[in-house]
Symmetry: C2
Amino acid sequence: MININSEQLSEMEKYYRINLINSLAGYKSLNLLGTIDNDGITNLCIISSVFHLGANPPLIGMVIRPERPHNDTLRNIKSVGQYTLNNVLPEWYMHAHQTSASYPSGVSEFDACGFKKIYADRFKAPFVEKSTVRIGLEMREFIDVELNGTTIVIGEVVRIMTDDSLIEEDGTVNHICAKTMTVAGLDNYCLPQAVGRLAYAKPGVEPHELSMVK
Amino acid sequence: MININSEQLSEMEKYYRINLINSLAGYKSLNLLGTIDNDGITNLCIISSVFHLGANPPLIGMVIRPERPHNDTLRNIKSVGQYTLNNVLPEWYMHAHQTSASYPSGVSEFDACGFKKIYADRFKAPFVEKSTVRIGLEMREFIDVELNGTTIVIGEVVRIMTDDSLIEEDGTVNHICAKTMTVAGLDNYCLPQAVGRLAYAKPGVEPHELSMVK
């Protein structure tokens, strides 16, 4: 067994530790984050720090790294108050990864990386046309994490645009049919396969697969 | 295309909305969260709200729902200051799901659901023996989210115990070899397959697969 303690962690080479810690806790949500500024210039970046915060109100959190000169994303969210999350598919995941390159200010990653925009009624931020699950959010809270200078952005889901037949009868989005990808660490892109849906767990009842009412 | 707005979201049947919002943003990190109280009673629960916060210092965040009478987990983390995250494997994922059942206070889910504990030197919280990637954390910060009463717990990684050969030369944990599972929504368990590792993205350079230095 490999056994690593905090002294060894602090002495690790920088990029080795980045890869290790970033991949440690398993697979991450993978999305393209779409924003727009007040002059209409759009921005698109891949993000893997999205987490579910609660269903009522419908809230999603994400971590944004410290604001830098060309970190347009955080500035756009602050000024416009809206953003979108769009799932990533195997057919074009390389182009989604390419949005992480440092393009000059004023260049939209939608154009530079070959993504067509679509818009929803009464919603400013752009969605990714070739995604199959698209979420429109309104910014609700910024939390500055003093421990490392990151910002946790909390948004409320106000729009959902999915391809037909992707929402099951009980409300669950079928990400297998949606072809949604996931990522481990910085760059390890994966496509999940279904193992099983399990019924609500109760003490004394053996765990078993969910029987879906059709 | 299915098009849902915030009015429709607010009028949805409660469990339909829970399933929809919980599954919306894609696949989630899946772990068993191990804790212990000051009397030595252990607790184990499945958690899917873990997110990467930063590598230096090595920080991981997670969302805990509002404290309830038998929410021993949050109380244990607060009183002992330590906890563990352990990955979930296909061979026993049904037993991992079973830890979400409401067992009476004083019953350890390690015993009730058939998990053997292991311990690390100078670390109180228990690890899951049959996981392949095990993380020991020390609590660093609690953030109360007023929007919905949840708590974001931030911990620093102070121990890592993995099976041999799971950490690649550049530090990345190989979750395909580790057989780590992921979950979409409340109960949709999946096993990812590798698609590709991509090189660091640069403007003007076509996205391409990473050539690993052996």
